[in-house]
Amino acid sequence: MHELERRALDDPFLMDALEGFEQTTGDQGANLADLSDRLNQRTAKKERRIIPWIPLSAAASILIVLGVGIWFFASRQDSEKTKLVARNVIPENKKQPAASPPAVAIDTQKQEKSANITETDNRKLIADNNKSYKKADTAEHALKEVSLAKAKVNSPASADISVAQENKSPVLAEPSSGYDKSTGYYSPKKDSVAANEMLVGDIAKKKKANATAFKPKSAAPTQTLVQSKVDGVLVIPDDSRTVTGTVMGTDGTPITGATVKVAGRNFGAVTDVNGKFVLPDVAKGQTLSVNYIGYSAKKVKADKDSMSISLRPTGSSLAEVVVTRESEKSDEAHPRDGWNSFEDYLKKNSQSPDGKTGKVKVSFVVAADGSLSQFKIVKSLSDDADKKAISLISGGPAWAGGTDGKPKEVTVSVKFH
């Protein structure tokens, strides 16, 4: 012990350790043994068999994910194709919403109204198609039946349809990609919309010829086209259509990312990089609410198919807007209430005293305090006119001097009529 203490005098490490032990009561041997065990455990070599596991499990999980992804993608592609074809043929008859599966609806719709497809209807159908993409899995089976049945009926046309379908299917995929499932909003994809319309037109034409020979799959009553169970997506009544528009700020620059919502419904669109948006299935007279951070929200009625909406930045109290002439430099003298009002004044009072019409140019000096002096006629019209010009200016609205405090020369042109 003494030995330790002695050495501790020269060794701070030992000294600290000794002090630590001094504070304890009881045998520390057990603790030290415990520490020794823990250390051995920590440094023990790990079992070899873990290592082969890691790459194997990683590979397995990647394969599974890929497999699922491929299957998913494939199934979605099919359902989109068949569904779109079916939908496009179905005319809208959306007066009675009901909760039956879409397949049944399609069957019964088909025979009734295949002849009545119009341009706006097509657009609506496309919108419906877009919405119902989510229901790929459930409707897929039913739709396949539909397409088969259709094929039976339209033997001459079916070949054309399938061709048209294939040609357009890459394009058709676009609307789905435009549909951002996470937010429930659309981003406009005008090309695909147009393409869809064409496709719809094609198929619709073909369908018109073969309306009658088709048997309904079930006796269900007339259904609305889409009673999709997707949350937040509703069936749209007949008088609705797609509203497009542009949102911009007060300066005319387009606003990207503004939200255009159908007021009261959880349904809307987001403006693209050009400020344009597309809102399908908007009923007439519905109010749209347009919002963007930093700008005051605006509510507009969806009364036009193509709207132009401008948003005002918040915090700008447009109380009095003073418009100044472009050519005016900041340090020049100018009429205190602005050139516009000054010119208005001149116009009001510029009746020619002697009947002579024309311009009189007057130059004068505006002092720093705004007083006018040194009137000179630069361009004369007539004596009387010149005199009147000078008196108009000197007796007219007050002037503000140059901002640098120096007197400034100003030239004003008075037009007499």
């Binding site: 330790l4 002695r6 005098l9 630590g20």
Partner: protein, 189 residues
């Protein structure tokens, strides 16, 4: 402290060899072996600062974890003193994290002056000088130094014999040492 012996004589050169061995192989068992030699000391230091046995044990393991990375990062000239500093810092960090305010009594701080041993040739003279200087000390200092160095008693025993408190004993020894050193230096000028 008689029930175990602290591994006090750790070979410094051996330390360096083991360290390099670890650095090359990356085998923590090697590092563990080296660390094991210092565990009692480190444990003691942790006890001193953390005051709790379980916490001290956890701290020792924590220090080992730090070692694993730090040995590779830093160049270590003297493993012994380096690991001491590391351990102390680790404990202080723990205390800061626990927001405990450590009171370090000034009495406990001992001076560590590297004492250069005098020339052995003049041992006779040195002895004489030492004796003379001893006489110059105060009685308590003289007594404590005498008991500690000459009689080789441990603090506890000295305290028992003299009746001084443990801290006083340490203090007298410390001050006595300093005075002797000054005295001897003066005499050898």
């Amino acid at each position: 402290m008689s029930f175990f012996s602290k591994p006090t004589k750790t070979d410094n050169t051996g330390d360096e060899v083991q360290l390099n061995n670890y650095r090359e192989s990356g085998d923590i068992a090697v590092l563990g072996k080296l660390f094991e030699q210092y565990v009692p000391l480190i444990y003691g230091v942790c006890l001193k600062y953390l005051k709790d046995e379980e916490e001290a044990k956890d701290a020792v393991m924590g220090i080992f974890e730090e070692l694993i990375t730090k040995v590779k990062q830093h160049e270590v000239k003297q493993f012994r003193s380096w690991v001491y500093v590391l351990s102390r810092n680790y404990c202080l960090m723990q205390l800061r994290a626990d927001k405990k305010i450590e009171e370090v009594s000034l009495d406990e701080v001992m001076e560590f002056a590297p004492f250069l041993h005098p020339d052995d040739n003049n041992k006779e003279e040195a002895m004489k000088a030492l004796e003379r200087c001893m006489e110059k000390l105060t009685s308590v200092q003289k007594q404590s130094i005498d008991l500690f160095y000459l009689k080789e008693k441990c603090y506890k025993e000295i305290a028992e014999i003299t009746g001084f408190t443990l801290n006083d004993v340490k203090s007298y020894i410390q001050n006595g040492k300093r005075n002797l050193k000054i005295c001897l230096e003066r005499n050898s000028e």
